[in-house]
Amino acid sequence: MTVNELKNIPEFTLLNEGEMDKEITRPFCCDLLSVAMSKAPAGAAWVTIMGNTNALAVSSLTDCACIILAEGTSLDPNVVHKAKVQDITLFQTDLPIFEAALKVYQLLEG
């Protein structure tokens, strides 16, 4: 399943379209950056509340497929712009972290 298919989740809003044909391996939930840094699997659909540029750095260094900002988390102003520059796909949702990850999981297992 590619990142593009996450567009089908009505609760997700696409904030930036990066590489939409990246394969998603599994959803991954974590808000501590240095834990995510060592535990995020390549191809993760990373669900987090950390809407900052450091999360973007972690995502690109660990080859996440995309970031899903859950809990209606507020974004630092330059995050969307930075995501554009770095070609990182960014979704936002009001869903809690678990439910957001579950949506991805259900679509994956579909």
Partner: protein, 140 residues
Amino acid sequence: MSDSLKLQYVISDEDFTRAGEASGDVKSKLKMMGVNPEVIRKVSIAMYEGEINMVIHANGGVIDVIITTKDITMILKDKGPGIKDVDLAMQAGYSTASENVRALGFGAGMGLPNMKKYSDEMNIETEIGVGTTVTMKVYF
């Protein structure tokens, strides 16, 4: 020595938004050189954690990177406060990160353990009030 690549990055003080750029640059260079993705992942994690530590704990510094055909060496030098007890700092979960920095997602106390885990050689030289130099090597 002729076929080694030397890179230098100046890491600015408290610039959270730019932290990760040096590691990102090294990552893309290694990718272009065709280095094994697993090795790139190790380098990326180790260098990013070191880079971010320089920003949040030491007011920035300078990173020298030397890439040869066999390995990559990263030398991260700062003029920060130094580390009082390195063994303690190396323990998973130990962190002196401020509330501000924790709110950004840092402060799990996993940075140094990650650096140790993902580098093949690591050495820390530190002196209180003078600074810290972390040297890491990853084999290709």
